[in-house]
Symmetry: C2
Subunit: 351 residues, 2 copies
């Protein structure tokens, strides 16, 4: 935690910023352990102020007790009525802040409106998100444990599939498994898609019943000890897989393998995407690969780096990413295979 | 839906605003049925533009199929790379917008930065939230069904309580009940608190085991067909309730009854709060009542109106609110009773 904060403070010193306001919940949690999530969209649990030599929390009285677990009492500021007057006063007079950094993508206009007259506001972009890309040992342990639950349920599933079962029933079986094994929640709404539904990269489980001789695509993950997991498998339910299924399944598996073998520190992230796109192109199917190749994963299911044609950054040891090529055909369904992968000093390792 | 949009459009016409940008997910859903939630904090499913004569959706390609269920194709704008150039162009040239309203509390600085140079930006505060306060028949039906599940589980619980059971086990029993009855999710993290934990208004379920002769406080709700429910009951587990329990339980029940009997269209919302506060004061316990008396509930668990000393508005027929007085004593626990109440033409009805 101290290392993480030190990185922010070095940045602040270099940019001559007196303090950074952090209200993205995952960023807030990453730097303090305080409240990983807000209870609802319009209700923030509060924000941090990272100064050159300390970290402070601004929150409301409901969170005081929780805040005390992670902050000394004099580092906690409780706002009530007249919230922004209070915030302005404490920032200026207690913390001696005049130049205030903020998170460009999340800072609400309300905050801008109340603070821009009193501080030099400096937008920062993905400052904490970039640090979060590189996982430390403890984070990695948690991610691996979280991901192990996903692998475990995938072992069970083939025996559980049954004709007439609905997508929703299967999704609930999976969720119960995660929860009963100690997961806090799903990492994202499960995708359990039969037949043509598998052609939609973001299908929600429906009341559609499983029929013989069709595709089952399952994209699932859980949050365990705060960290997210995310894997996908595509199954054939029935006797002998169709030619379409077998052909595309083999291509997707091969593409995934190629991408994972390609990954190395120093190589450009987008090159992994192009490798897969070009491989599909050589079989004339690249137009059916319609999304990114993968994404970073950690406190959020989707975090940096994105494995897209736009990403000019390089792979670095400690990154945890998904590799999830897919091919989708509205007539009969789709295939996606997704593993989580750790970038190591020498290459990449499936976790 | 048309009525809701008409109200917004009347406001826009009156304020000479060409279009309103709506990105709060509950507001977005309320006006379009498109995506009640964003998948994670930093990933918006898109936003609406309500113009004087229509409603448009801006989203990314992942949501196109879902969008088509609620919008004609020419009302959907898909952004990709160069997102804000695209948005600016479509707003200006297709939709002929020059004055653009936005949601003061949620509009991210990123949007402000990209749009303020090209449009007259006009903040709006709680415009849609105020319309959402008054529920129509269909919303009310869904809220009642959602709330019925909570009442049902409260019927089962006393037989299920068992010495040695943990708060977490009980919370999972409740959640499974909701989900197996068709609820989409919990409306908020369940509060299941034994003994002293009941003194914390926002306790999270722990591994603490239930002992004989202590308090059980349970504050739970689910989301069913999109609508939230929220109720609290406090139980005594054991033989004969302690004097403290009985005394405070009776006061809280009485306070709740008084508040519900007080509610009438035309009466000030804050007066309900003061009535309870004063009632507790007459018994010398008002300092143990530490939170609001209640809140509106609907697509969000917490929405307008808040039943607080600050709220100078009046009760109106169609409001659905919680009434939840509580008294908290760190030494032994706390009591809270919470019902959901519909404001009718003549008074208030527990639902």
């Amino acid at each position: 935690m101290q290392k993480r904060i030190k990185k922010i403070q070095d940045f602040l010193a270099q940019e001559k910023i007196d303090g950074l306001l952090v209200l993205n919940p995952s960023n807030r949690y990453y730097l303090s352990k305080f409240e990983l999530k807000d209870v609802q969209y319009n209700e923030s649990a509060g924000f941090l102020i990272v100064t050159l030599d300390d970290v402070y929390l601004f929150t409301d009285s409901r969170y005081f007790e929780e805040a005390r677990r992670y902050f000394e009492q004099d580092k906690i500021f409780i706002y009530a009525k007249d919230k922004f007057n209070y915030i302005r006063d404490r920032l200026k007079n207690k913390l001696k802040i005049s130049t205030l950094g903020f998170e460009y993508y999340y800072f609400p206009y309300e905050f801008y409106d109340h603070l821009s007259g009193s501080f030099d506001l400096v937008p920062t972009k993905y400052l904490i998100e970039k640090i979060r890309q590189i996982k430390d040992e403890r984070e990695l342990d948690k991610i691996i444990t979280s991901n192990k639950l996903v692998s475990e349920v995938f072992e069970l599933l083939p025996d559980y599939f049954q004709e007439g079962q609905t997508e929703q029933e299967l999704a609930w079986f999976i969720e119960k498994f995660f929860r009963e094994k100690g997961a806090l929640e799903l990492a994202f709404p499960s995708i359990v898609a039969f037949g043509q539904n598998a052609a939609k990269p973001h299908a929600l489980p429906s009341a559609r019943k499983l029929k013989k001789n069709e595709v089952i695509l399952i994209d699932i993950g859980c949050r365990f000890q705060d960290y997210c997991s995310d894997q996908t498998r595509t199954f054939w339910f029935g006797d002998k897989p169709s030619t379409d299924f077998t052909f595309n399944f083999n291509l997707v598996v091969k593409a995934q393998e190629k991408a994972i073998n390609f990954i190395q520190p120093g190589r450009e992230i987008r090159e992994a995407y192009f490798l897969v796109k070009d491989f599909f192109k050589s079989y004339g199917v690249d137009q059916y690969f319609t999304h990114a190749l993968g994404h970073g994963i950690g406190l959020d299911t989707h975090e940096l780096p994105s494995i897209t044609p736009k990403n000019e950054n390089k792979f670095e040891p400690g990154m945890v990413i998904t590799i999830e090529p897919g091919l989708y055909y509205p007539e009969w369904g789709g295939i996606r295979q997704e593993y989580m992968v750790l970038v190591t000093e020498k290459g990449a390792r499936i976790i």
